[in-house]
């Protein structure tokens, strides 16, 4: 289950700034290496894909392995071109996908 997506954008960004976009989501990130109490392997279920789009254009993408911790946190840089909408999509091995949206506001000098 992918739940509780959060995106943090800085306040007071100006055009031309390079900002850090901080994201986190709740997910077990089951590695596939563990066994249950009966010794049966627990199937892998991780968020394998992370995509960030600003104003419809992909700005950052990642593929995660089982070595990424549970409740994956990712911070990535983005050059501010103007105000707009940021969409971040997380997708896991079970085919669940979740998109969270944040609005970037820009300070005009």
């Amino acid at each position: 289950m992918i739940t509780k997506p959060r995106i943090k954008l800085p306040d007071g960004a100006k055009v031309g700034d390079i900002i850090d976009v901080k994201t986190v989501v709740n997910h077990v990130m089951e590695t596939g290496n563990r066994k249950d109490a009966e010794g049966k392997p627990i199937a892998r279920n991780i968020i394998a894909s992370f995509v960030a789009k600003f104003a419809g254009t992909e700005v950052f993408r990642a593929e995660f392995g089982p070595g990424i911790s549970a409740n994956p946190f990712v911070s990535f840089p983005m050059r501010v071109t103007g105000p707009g909408q940021l969409d971040v999509t997380w997708s896991d091995d079970l085919g669940q996908s979740l998109t969270e949206t944040a609005i970037l506001l820009v300070v005009i000098e």
Binding site: I18, D20, T31, N33, R34, F54, T57, E58, V59, F60, R61, A62, E63, F64, G65, P66, G67, I68, S69, A70, P72, F73, V74, S75, F76, P77, M78, R79, T81
Partner: protein, 173 residues
């Protein structure tokens, strides 16, 4: 703050020798360190020699970089020197690059030399990135080296490495 650590010499032969087949030593614990090939039974200890690499890592790394070891430059890995808990270790990878259309970083691949799976994550940058850096939290099964390989727009590969001492391993045992 990347520390230098023992690196795999290029051209070094790395063999997961079938000699261990009869000893009950699982493939997972065959570690190759420095110039010596050490096959040790897993004693539950999290301590592995610096420069040790799992067979998984060696295979994955070879696929990623080919025969030529990427140059050790311009890639820094900020991570704890000693991690109390291997389940969640914060990291930042930075690559020095102007990130202009002529000169930019396409991807950073973060690798662990001692986890069951070598690739921790692959991060793709664009001209909208402005900077080639990424932060996250990773699992570390035991004391090991962490390596980041950056692919430049020219196709050239460069790398950074550091060692992390792990007190309690992550990755679900």
């Amino acid at each position: 703050m990347a520390k230098s650590s023992h690196m795999m010499k290029s051209g070094q032969s790395v063999a997961s020798q079938p000699a261990n087949a009869g000893t009950g030593v699982s493939r997972r614990v065959v570690m190759v360190g420095g110039l010596a090939v050490a096959v040790t039974p897993f004693d539950g200890s999290l301590a592995t020699p610096a420069g040790a690499r799992t067979v998984f890592f060696i295979e994955t790394y070879k696929k990623l970089v080919g025969e030529k070891e990427p140059e050790l430059r311009d890639v820094t890995i900020e991570i704890l020197e000693t991690a109390e808990n291997g389940n969640t270790v914060p990291f930042t990878v930075n690559v020095r690059s102007p990130m202009t259309p002529d000169e930019y970083v396409k991807t950073i691949t973060l690798l662990s030399t001692g986890n069951p799976q070598a690739v921790v994550g692959t991060f793709h940058f664009s001209l909208h990135s402005g900077r080639a850096s990424v932060s996250g939290r990773m699992r570390l099964a035991r004391t090991q080296d962490v390596i980041a390989v950056a692919e430049l727009n020219t196709g050239m590969l460069i790398r950074g490495e550091t060692n992390v001492q792990v007190m309690i391993g992550g990755c679900g045992g």
